[in-house]
């Protein structure tokens, strides 16, 4: 059990900076997700923690101990790979016990711990099978069991669920989280799926082009995106340019292409312009208690089962609204929408 410190981590491949002076502290037992599009450096960071990738600068510390020169097989990390990386020539039991064999754990202890791990992930009865005989979900569980059985300081997940179908993914990610909570192992999880990140993380680290865009718990990252990247990467967002006309202790007034908006955000008074964003589900049919009223013309509605995605036009500016269930708006209708002051974010 240990906390993890990344200090000014730097890595470049052939002239391109892949990880750009990344600094992050992860507390003991925390579940932190590195979230971002492909190429943002999250997998490189993960592999650097494991020692599988050499960094060009910065420090990696487990519980304060410097790990830079420690080779991967001597670091107390365990990784769950996207491809599962199960040893095809070994049985499930042999796969799971591999890490224990490397650490020269005694036969009897090995057997017990393997059995425990298998029970924990729900693999009873499959000990003698080979990976080729298992389903995707089962293989994933074996990879999980193989990692946790070694009781590492840090558990690393490299997009472990992206090869599974949606339903299985939803089920397994919750299982992973509960398992981690029970074991209390510090975990770093890499994914590009923002819904996944929101569901399982204690904190989300949003990454873009090797840099951290924002760190925060899921609620905060979702409701208060700090940058347009975060706003648009996590969930949907309407993002507009705005001129800040006034700032007070209650909030600010913003001039945008869709009219004057009132927000409870309090930006730096020095700023003249900013990007502002709000979530499509926060714009609701207008009620008098809402400070912001916008008239918009419906251009398209798409029914998606549990919600309807509506595209609207406001004097030439396109916006998106999400309504639960179905709507009786038709294309061409003009509707009055309202927005609460605390739902408008002023981005960096």
């Amino acid at each position: 059990m240990a906390d993890l410190d990344l200090v000014e981590l730097y890595k470049q491949y052939g002239g391109q900076t892949v990880v750009d002076h990344l600094t992050l502290h992860v507390s003991d037992g925390e579940f932190v997700t590195l979230l971002g599009p492909s190429g943002c450096g999250k997998t490189t960071t993960l592999r650097a923690i494991a020692g599988l990738v050499e960094i060009d600068g910065g420090e990696i510390r487990f519980g304060g101990r410097l790990m830079n020169d420690v080779p991967p097989h001597k670091r107390s990390t365990a990784m769950v790979f996207q491809s599962y990386a199960l040893f095809p020539h070994m049985t499930v039991a042999e796969n799971i016990s591999f890490g224990l064999r490397m650490r020269h754990v005694s036969d009897r202890d090995r057997r017990d711990r393997v059995a425990d791990a298998m029970a924990m992930v729900g693999l009873e009865g499959l000990a003698e099978r080979k990976p080729g005989q298992l389903s995707g979900g089962q293989q994933q569980r074996v990879a999980l069991a193989r990692a946790i059985v070694t009781r590492p300081d840090v558990l690393l997940f490299d997009e472990p669920l992206s090869n599974l179908d949606a339903k299985l993914r939803e089920r397994l990610r919750i299982e992973i989280r509960e398992l981690q909570r029970r074991l209390g192992i510090t975990s770093i999880y890499v994914t590009h799926d923002q819904a996944e990140a929101l569901v399982i993380s204690d904190r989300i680290v949003v990454m873009n082009q090797g840099r951290i865009e924002q760190i925060g718990d899921p609620l905060m990252v979702y409701k208060q995106p700090a940058t347009s990247f975060t706003a648009e990467f996590i969930g949907q967002a309407n993002v507009l340019e705005a001129t800040i006309s006034s700032v007070s202790s209650d909030g600010c007034q913003l001039d945008t292409a869709i009219g004057r908006l009132v927000s409870s955000a309090r930006p730096d008074p020095e700023r003249r312009t900013a990007l502002v964003s709000w979530r499509p589900e926060d714009m609701i049919p207008f009620t008098p208690d809402l400070p912001n009223r916008i008239e918009a013309r419906v251009t398209r509605t798409i029914f998606m089962g549990n919600l309807t995605d509506v595209a609207l036009d406001v004097n030439g500016t396109a916006i998106r609204v999400e309504r639960p269930g179905s709507v009786d708006w038709q294309v061409g209708d003009t509707v009055a929408l309202g927005l609460a002051a605390d739902r408008i974010q002023v981005l960096r």
């Binding site: 490189t44 020692g51 990738v53 050499e54 080779p71 097989h73």
Partner: protein, 288 residues
């Protein structure tokens, strides 16, 4: 050949890290270079020995160089007809192999059917069976049918040995044509023959070249069958060489004939290797 491990992968240990750069690669390259290069260089050196200044122990290099050996071999030995026989034989065997293997390769690429694996194994058999066994007893078969010591017999025998290469390379090429390309062509109105002409054959051209080169060289280098079935009426470069390597080893002349056999092979094979852009030898075996 794929590059192996991903970029940036950490070397396993500091000691092994020294393996990556520095002394060890250099040492290995030097050793490999010597092991491979010295024998070849020696042969070249021996082929250039001046008969008036024989090269013998303890000299490290021939005292003087001349093309006498080359001129001697060409003038005095039966090398010239042997070269002619070799190359004519190789050409005939290659063409025959191509004609025989083409329909089969087409079928292998076009359809899935039972017995494909069996056919693949069968086509490799001539390479796996012990050469002299095949040579000796095929010669008996030929003798029974009046084909012994005939050119036709030799062509048939060389074709037998060349077919595995031609068949494998052609089949692989045909099988590599994506199904969708063929379907798209049909969809656009191409008949089977038109497809063969305008799509398949152009796409398998590299395979045809590679197959032709490998078959040609296999025939050039073939020894056992030719030795048993062809000699003494027909000599090829390998049988002549064998003659020089028997009891009386004449290094100088053996060197010349070795080079006559070696150099075209090397040139052709490197050309084939380059032309293919992929390494068929190791790719073919990687699926084992």
């Amino acid at each position: 050949m794929t590059g192996g491990l991903p970029l940036g992968t950490r070397s396993p240990a500091p000691v092994l890290r020294a393996v990556r750069l520095g002394v060890v690669p250099l040492a290995v390259i030097v050793v490999a270079g010597i092991a491979v290069g010295v024998p070849i260089l020696m042969a070249i050196a021996w082929s250039l020995v001046d008969p008036d200044h024989p090269w013998s122990y303890p000299d490290m290099f021939p005292p003087s160089v001349s093309l006498y050996q080359w001129e001697y071999v060409f003038r005095v030995t039966g090398i010239v007809p042997a070269i002619a026989t070799s190359y004519v034989l190789a050409t005939a065997a290659t063409i025959l192999s191509f004609l025989i293997a083409l329909p089969m390769a087409y079928a292998m690429g076009r359809w899935a059917f039972r017995g494909k694996e069996l056919i693949r194994i069968l086509m490799l058999l001539p390479l796996v069976m012990p050469g002299m066994v095949v040579a000796l007893f095929l010669s008996r078969v030929f003798a029974a049918f009046g084909l012994a010591q005939t050119f036709h017999g030799l062509v048939l025998a060389h074709t037998l040995l060349g077919l595995p290469f031609m068949a494998r390379l052609l089949s692989t090429s045909f099988e590599a044509i994506p199904r969708e390309v063929s379907d798209a062509a049909s969809n656009l109105g191409a008949s089977e023959f038109a497809k063969l002409r305008t799509i398949y054959l152009p796409m398998v051209r590299p395979g045809i070249f590679a197959g032709a080169i490998l078959t040609f060289i296999a025939s050039l280098e073939e020894f056992s069958l030719t030795y048993v079935i062809g000699t003494p009426d027909y000599q090829t470069i390998p049988t002549i060489l064998f003659g020089f390597l028997g009891q009386r080893l004449v290094r100088t002349q053996a060197s010349v004939v070795s080079l006559i056999l070696l150099v075209p092979s090397l040139v052709l094979l490197f050309a084939a290797d380059r032309m293919l852009k992929r390494d068929y030898v190791s790719t073919g075996f990687s699926k084992l």
